[in-house]
């Protein structure tokens, strides 16, 4: 009862801000959608959406752009979450875009379906005429993301014009757009990785098991720990090892590296993150491609 506790002031203020943003989306747009990847950030978004509209249902669907190279645990988790919360889920497959000849599968050592997702996403936005897509990107993740607005306008081609962004003042969000444009919305822009984990701990939110330490077949390359899987290209001399690992971010299997970990519960994960000396994206293979990798992908319409 009464006022909120003091030691949670920081995380509460982030939560209040995110709920405010969720409500602005519902009020300002006709067809919003929440982009759901199955990762901890999008699970956090779902929790915030549920809280924002209680006791009414979340007034927009979730959409998963499925690369087909998922960790099986995340798909199971996704279906259970949607069922339990009575949410609507739309799934669109990268495989379909490949079959339709719209994108070409990459090949070779660093091949991944991660960047192919963009085409599938833009097609789905067009198909459903979504005017706002809520995403879990955070400004602390990556330096191009640090420049992102909370309401970020995309043109008809889904592109981000980074040098010509709308100024965002106070907490007023301008969601006015032209027909054909859409807005990417980032309610947890101001959260750090540690904030997300602390929130998951505080709210007791269930997350997929791959976020906790488990035994997994892996191999080492470029100082990163890769999953041994049919979806990940592996050279003959790259030896398969079995190790206790955990994932800090969960995306496509081909672009998500693991970290060695003994943290089997949320409290020890939070402790590990707090003491960590490597950033979350340090384990993202897609970002290692170049210093400007993220900015390029964003210009093309990536999340």
């Amino acid at each position: 009862m009464s006022k909120m506790k003091k030691d949670t002031y920081h995380i509460n203020s982030l939560e209040n801000e995110a709920i405010y943003i969720m409500r602005e989306v519902a009020a300002q747009f006709e067809k919003p959608v929440l982009l759901f990847s199955g990762g901890k950030d999008s699970i956090t978004l779902v929790r915030l959406a549920v809280k924002a509209f209680y006791p009414a249902k979340v007034p927009f669907p979730l959409m998963h752009i499925d690369t087909g190279h998922n960790f099986p645990e995340t798909i199971e988790f996704r279906d259970k979450l949607v069922e339990e919360l009575g949410l609507e889920l739309i799934v669109r497959h990268v495989q379909d875009s490949i079959d339709e000849g719209k994108v070409k599968e990459e090949s070779g050592k660093y091949s991944s379906r991660n960047s192919l997702q963009t085409t599938t996403l833009l097609d789905a936005i067009e198909e459903f005429k979504f005017d706002a897509c809520i995403g879990g990107a955070r400004r602390d993740e990556e330096k191009a993301r640090a420049k992102e607005r909370i309401f970020s306008v995309r043109d008809d081609f889904g592109q981000w014009d980074e040098k010509n962004q709308r100024p965002e003042l106070f907490d007023m969000l301008n969601g006015q757009i032209h027909h054909g444009q859409n807005v990417r919305v980032f309610p947890i822009s101001n959260w750090t990785e540690l904030d997300v984990w602390s929130y998951i701990e505080k709210e007791n939110i269930e997350i997929p098991s791959i976020y906790f330490a488990h035994k997994r077949k892996v191999f080492l390359r470029d100082g990163l720990i890769w999953s041994h899987s049919e979806f990940v290209y592996q050279e003959d001399d790259e030896e398969v090892l079995e190790r206790m690992v955990r994932f800090r971010t969960v995306g496509d299997m081909s672009c998500t590296a693991a970290v060695f970990s003994e943290a089997t519960d949320i409290a020890s994960v939070v402790r590990e993150i707090r003491d960590s000396t490597i950033s979350e994206r340090g384990a993202r293979i897609d970002d290692k491609r170049s210093d400007a990798a993220m900015e390029k992908r964003k210009q093309q319409g990536y999340f």
Binding site: S2, N16, K51, P55, A56, K147, L169, M172, N174, S279
Partner: protein, 415 residues
């Protein structure tokens, strides 16, 4: 733990990005992979020191040109506080980004290059800090290593800046001077032994000690209704909740309230945060309120305490910062977004332009160009419920939206 939002201001090359990078480095907030990337790039560029600005300049064009083009938000925390620093560009043409960065900040850092002293740009930065009523301003005199850590240089800059202070109209602002070297790390996080004549705190020590009470503007409670929640389920059949954020003060169950614009009176029945009921909704919390009476309330309406009404009017005068390359002209029509409320507005009169370098005003103005600051009267197609900016930072501010391009083209502070 508290969150402190800080804006930075300074001219190009005064060292803002370096200063932020230095803070990150000295508070051990840079992770190994980010530090390695900075080391690698610094070496590639042939520097014999670490270029910390690489930590914040995130766009390709920024790294190529070695400048900050757009606002970046940098996050770090100490045991005491969480910080969000907005690294804002210093070019004159980017004034709008500075106003943007400052609009969400409680404190600001103005950088001055010790070799150059107070320049025209400094006046502008201070003016904007004043216009936006930033409570705590730290004047950081940087590159002290290049002036032999001279006390005379510091004193001269302090004296010049103090002259500016007499011209401002927000006199309650707290101003602190700190001599630093962002590059070498003197007085940034750790106190320096190179300037024994300076006995004050380091920059971070100062920020750590700022009290929430001192830096957050507090006013009277205003509750703009964002969204009406009507579940229409069996369990919540008649539930009608008003979702929104509480600004300025607190609201409690039982408070006698007035709903604007209808001026209908009612009482707060329940305050929900998710599925929990609370007695009081604190400032800046996103709650859902139910009222005793079944009255018609919709988005854009405002719930306030009885006897504590804002101004309800179809016109107002404000200082605005114009942010678009297309001119604002007399008679021009725009959308005013005041909180979550949108109304159509017409420019009734541009009274005068205010030179942001404190050199006075310019009268007989017919149009405003990008980065101009001016006093303007607007007429609205329906009333809004506002307070003066000096009494209420949230309910006294608005943005202007172009009806054709939908862009945010200006920001205003109601007088």
């Amino acid at each position: 733990m508290e969150v402190l939002k800080i804006a930075t201001a300074g001219s190009v090359d005064d060292g803002k990005s370096t200063l932020i990078g230095r803070i990150l480095y000295d508070t051990k907030s840079l992770t190994t992979d980010k530090l390695e990337a900075i080391e690698k790039t610094s070496k590639q560029k042939g520097y014999d020191y670490l270029d910390f600005s690489l930590a914040t300049d995130g766009l390709v064009a920024e790294r190529e040109q070695g400048i900050t083009i757009d606002v970046a938000h940098i996050y770090f925390s100490t045991a005491k506080k969480s910080y969000i620093i907005a690294d804002t560009p210093g070019h004159v043409e980017y004034t709008r980004n500075m106003v943007t960065g400052a609009s969400t900040s409680q404190a600001s850092i103005i950088l001055i290059d010790a070799r150059k002293g107070v320049i025209e740009q400094t006046n502008r930065h201070f003016f904007i800090n004043n216009l936006l009523r930033i409570k705590d301003v730290v004047v950081t005199i940087n590159k002290m290593d290049l002036v032999d850590y001279s006390e005379d240089v510091y004193n001269k800059i302090k004296a010049d800046f103090s002259e500016l202070m007499s011209k401002r109209d927000y006199q309650d602002q707290k101003i602190t001077f700190i001599p630093v070297s962002a590059l070498k790390g003197d007085n940034v996080v750790n106190r320096s032994n190179k300037m024994p004549w300076y006995t004050g705190q380091s920059l971070l020590e100062h920020l750590e000690e700022l009290d929430k009470k001192d830096i957050f503007n507090i006013g009277t409670p205003r509750f703009p209704v964002q969204y009406v929640i009507r579940p229409k389920t069996e369990e919540f059949h008649d539930f009608r909740g008003y979702a929104g954020k509480v600004y300025g003060g607190e609201l409690s169950v039982g408070d006698e309230v007035v709903v604007l614009p209808s001026q209908t009176k009612s009482k707060i029945k329940e305050i929900y945060f998710y599925n929990e009921k609370f007695q009081t909704a604190s400032r800046r919390s996103s709650v859902t309120i139910t009222l005793e009476n079944d009255i018609n309330v919709s988005r854009g309406d405002m719930i306030v305490k009885d006897g504590d009404l804002p101004t309800i009017d179809k016109q107002f005068t404000a200082n605005i910062c114009w942010m678009d390359s297309t001119q604002l002209t007399n008679g021009g029509k725009y959308i005013v977004q005041h909180g979550v409320n949108k109304v159509l507005a017409k420019v009734d009169k541009i009274h005068h332009k205010i030179n942001p370098d404190y050199s006075g005003i310019e009268e007989n103005v017919t149009g405003l160009n990008v980065n101009d600051i001016a006093q303007v009267t607007f007429k609205l197609n329906k009333p809004i419920f506002y307070d003066q900016f000096k009494n209420h930072r949230t309910n006294g501010s608005f943005i202007l939206i172009d009806t054709q391009t939908n862009s945010t083209v200006g920001a205003g502070f109601i007088q």
